[in-house]
């Protein structure tokens, strides 16, 4: 296998990071909704934590993208 095709396969494999990010983001919003429906009064105070959790989760998936870009363009 030459370097180019190995790079392509590696970059594709790096996208598996999105599995974890998807589960994580679903978990964040799901937990927020179930908590907010039980106690709607406290929901508004937790939006900061919601967005923070979302962003931290999403970033892990994007690190996969960075790895893919490194594989494709840095070698």
């Amino acid at each position: 296998m030459d370097l180019k095709s190995a790079q392509m396969i590696g970059a594709g494999l790096a996208c598996i990071a999105l599995v974890g990010a998807g589960i994580g983001i679903g978990n964040v919003f799901g937990s927020y909704l179930s908590g907010a429906l039980r106690n709607p009064g406290a929901a508004a105070t937790q939006t900061t934590n919601l967005l923070l959790g979302f962003a931290l989760c999403e970033a892990t998936g994007l690190f996969g993208l960075v790895i893919a870009l490194l594989i494709l363009f840095a070698f």
């Binding site: 900061t48 923070l52 999403e58 970033a59 994007l62 960075v66």
Partner: protein, 255 residues
């Protein structure tokens, strides 16, 4: 037709300025499209925020309301994350928030350049934040700032926890900068890829040309999502700055 979705991120000297401005240690310094966008962002945002509140009307206009709301939004954010004594960092956090926000929003204009999609820019901002955190921590607590790395735990757990705390502190500038950079890069690449679909379908002829409306509509939806992400990432960058500053100010105790 070969459309490269990465082409939009190329930093190049602006038209008519092909000669380097100056040389620093043999490295040519150009006035690039990125620099142009940063100058535009800095000028537009500072002019808007000062001129909108200049007349100081009792009943605010829309512009004045926007400026006042952005002040209150950031002040509330700092107050909730760092407490009363974090408010002396208001100018820094506010500048950072507005700069990142405007860079993200100006990048959404088709044909312009997204400054925050360059790791050099976001890492410079993140390094500034972490540098300020370290300086603040050592100024406030002296050498006691190192207690930040020692959580309340039995000594046998500390052997494990202290290296973890040190590593997590050291990776902060990387995660802070890569989060913003990768979000902007991914969003704009996705827009360009879908744009390529429209061009490829539209030039295919026949029924396929009619079908090119579908990715076009999808681009509009993704554009809206990207506007949300543009705001959210600026917000996350600012709130994480506040949280890091809070740790430097209060170490482990809650305010």
């Amino acid at each position: 037709m070969n459309l490269n979705p990465m082409e939009q991120f190329a930093v190049k000297p602006i038209f008519g300025m092909d000669k380097p401005l100056l040389q620093i240690a043999g490295h040519p310094i150009y006035f690039t499209n990125q620099a142009v966008l940063m100058v535009i962002v800095a000028v537009v945002s500072s002019l808007f925020l000062t001129l909108a509140v200049k007349p100081n009307r009792l009943v605010p206009t829309r512009g004045q309301s926007m400026a006042e709301m952005s002040y209150e939004f950031v002040a509330g954010m700092i107050h909730s994350a760092t407490g009363e004594d974090g408010l002396k960092f208001f100018p820094f956090v506010f500048t950072l928030f507005i700069f990142v926000l405007c860079c993200n929003f100006f990048g959404m204009v088709p044909g312009s350049f997204t400054v925050t999609s360059q790791i050099a820019v976001t890492f410079a901002l993140a390094a500034l934040v972490i540098g300020l955190v370290i300086v603040t921590g050592f100024m406030k607590h002296g050498i006691g700032f190192l207690k930040l790395f020692v959580p309340h735990a039995p000594w046998y757990l500390l052997i494990l926890l202290i290296p973890i705390e040190v590593i997590s502190f050291l990776t902060r500038p990387i995660s802070l900068s890569v989060r913003l950079f990768a979000n902007m890069l991914a969003g704009h690449t996705m827009l360009a890829v879908f744009g390529g679909f429209v061009v490829a379908l539209g030039s295919a002829g026949g029924i396929l040309s009619v079908l090119s409306v579908a990715p076009m509509l999808l681009i509009v939806a993704i554009m809206l999502l990207e506007l949300l992400v543009a705001f959210l990432q600026a917000y996350v960058f600012a709130i994480l700055t506040c949280i890091y500053l809070n740790e430097a100010l209060h170490l482990h105790d809650h305010h």
